[in-house]
């Protein structure tokens, strides 16, 4: 590649931390905080149900729970419970993008709680299970083994 004029300015750790909202499957990037499904129900009903429907289905936006049709059926349901391979993705996506009308408005505890609520609604965790940076990465999702790499040579070992 051609050489550039090297105009990049150093990024301080604090600035990186403010910017960096990626959560990896192994939990890297999870912030402090915690929540349970019971706490999350209040968040969900107030800020999510209008679009996603009561209990995560039947709204105008994507179905988040209640998927029953297996992936091999004629009308497969691709929901968190039936399709998503990592719990980290639920936390990551909600924190970065939801609620659609006010992204980045939830506190970390609210994100943990509503994530727990959706995992519970999908039958993955119990309603009092505490979700935090330590417990979330340990969750094994039902469809964790459901993906094949089109380019296996690119898969990290």
């Amino acid at each position: 590649a051609p050489e550039g004029p090297r105009l990049g300015q150093p990024l301080e750790a604090a600035a990186i931390s403010a910017l960096d909202i990626t959560v990896f499957p192994d939990g890297t990037g999870l912030p402090p905080g915690q929540g349970t499904a019971v706490e999350g129900k209040a968040v969900y009903d107030a800020k999510c149900a209008a679009c996603h429907g009561p209990n995560g289905s039947g709204g105008s936006a994507e179905e988040l729970a209640g998927g029953r049709n297996p992936l091999t059926s004629a009308e497969p349901d691709k929901t968190i419970g039936t399709y998503w391979p990592y719990a980290s993705t639920v936390f990551d996506f909600i924190r970065r993008a939801m609620p659609l009308d006010a992204p980045r408005s939830l506190g970390n505890d609210e994100v943990y709680a509503v994530t727990a609520y959706l995992l519970h609604a999908n039958g993955i965790i119990g309603e009092h299970d505490r979700l935090d940076a330590a417990t979330l990465p340990k969750i094994r999702m039902p469809n964790a083994a459901g993906f094949v790499w089109v380019y296996p040579e690119r898969q990290p070992r």
């Binding site: 004029p5 990049g8 910017l19």
Partner: protein
């Protein structure tokens, strides 16, 4: 010469009977700072399908069947936004590069404009383009409303490799997580090999700065790779030893197979073609000579060959390819067809420089099932009826 003179002079008297059109007898419109299409072309638009509750969440299709050549006018480049088009102030916007780098750095747009650039014509195609093809029933819609989540522009920008070299890479930096500064903070994971190959930090589209809906002020362009990886409004690149497994590379943009397993990180848009004229919803006015014109492209390189069949795939003829034929770029193909007035089925089939041949629909469906949603690239069939009307068929 006598002939001309006689015609001209002898009939001058009657000439006054047919006055010139009004636009030849009155001064025309003034010059303008920035031109727009003719009001007579106002039907040539991107067709929008958006979420009723969220007008920035949706898609709009390039009207391929009304366009020609290989360049898509920027105003008609397809759109796919997850939460609208951010109105970014370029003076504030910065690109952060961090993670497994030697030195985390941040770049302003004015900085990047001072870097060495390169230009290339290439297509961008949404992974979900043509997904109506998976349906059992052939969708009756204009070609662009089926296949128009693909557009082609000249992109100019800084090679990503230049900026990564400035930061330095740690040995286990194998993935790059690219994130947009939109309200969806849209992010995807990109293998380092692609990032170092031909990835561009694009600042210009078709000569001028990017359009807002195409990522202004900065877009990651990954020639030949599915649209979602060409992250718009790019503001953050995080080097990592693993992919993020973001929502748009797990829950979406993965292809469920009949086995229940799903293909992940499919990236490359395989070779594809379609006839844009004549196509569904259009009509041939009658038997005779008709130009067939269409587009072919491949995410793996240049189109080597496009064949056209007018008998539903029994026989094939090589179409002519307009110059230029560039890698990972739309290629315009053409064939003159003499229609005898009997029902006919038109198909096109692309072969790229790797020898890959665009598959027939039944082959693709047999391999992938009908719930893959993404990466549909089968041969497209248009049926011409005896009355000249053209419809979409699975044949």
């Amino acid at each position: 010469k006598a002939g001309l003179a006689v015609t001209g002079a002898a009939l001058a008297g009657t000439a006054q009977a047919v006055p010139p059109p009004p636009w030849m007898t009155r001064p025309g419109a003034p010059l303008s700072n920035y031109g727009q299409p003719s009001p007579h072309e106002r039907a040539v638009i991107r067709w929008i399908a958006a979420n009723a509750d969220a007008p920035g969440n949706g898609i709009s299709w390039t009207p391929l069947e009304r366009l020609e050549g290989i360049v898509t006018p920027s105003g008609l480049h397809f759109e796919r936004h997850h939460n609208g088009v951010p109105q970014i102030d370029p003076a504030v916007h910065r690109l952060a590069v961090h993670g497994r780098v030697g030195k985390a750095l941040s770049f302003g747009i004015d900085d990047l404009l001072r870097y060495p650039m390169t230009s290339r014509l290439c297509f961008i195609e949404c992974g979900g383009n043509s997904n109506a093809g998976w349906h059992q029933e052939p969708m009756q819609a204009p070609a662009g409303n089926i296949h128009g989540l693909a557009s082609c522009s000249e992109w100019t920008g800084v090679p990503l490799a230049t900026v990564l070299a400035e930061c330095g890479l740690q040995p286990n930096a194998q993935w790059l997580i690219a994130e947009g500064a939109d309200a969806a903070a849209m992010n995807v994971s990109i293998p380092l090999d692609k990032a170092l190959d031909d990835a561009l930090l694009a600042l210009y589209q078709n000569g001028e700065r990017l359009r807002p809906e195409n990522g202004y002020p900065l877009r990651l362009v990954l020639p030949g790779w599915e649209g979602v990886t060409n992250v718009k409004w790019l503001h953050r690149l995080q080097l990592a030893d693993q992919p993020a497994m973001a929502r748009n590379e797990t829950a979406k943009y993965t292809e469920l197979l009949p086995s229940g397993q799903a293909r992940q990180f499919s990236f490359v848009m395989e070779a594809k073609s379609l006839i844009t004229r004549p196509s569904a919803g259009q009509a041939l006015p009658g038997p005779g000579l008709h130009p067939i014109s269409g587009l072919a492209w491949s995410g793996r390189g240049a189109i080597r060959r496009v064949e056209v069949s007018t008998d539903g795939g029994k026989t094939w003829q090589d179409a002519a390819l307009d110059s230029p034929v560039l890698p990972k770029c739309f290629t315009r193909f053409r064939l003159s067809w003499r229609w005898d007035g009997s029902p006919a089925i038109l198909k096109s089939r692309a072969t790229d420089e790797t020898g890959y041949v665009q598959p027939e629909r039944q082959i693709l469906v047999a391999e992938r099932g009908r719930h893959g949603y993404f990466h549909y690239n089968a041969i497209v069939s248009w049926a011409v009826a005896a009355d000249g009307s053209v419809s979409h068929v699975h044949a």
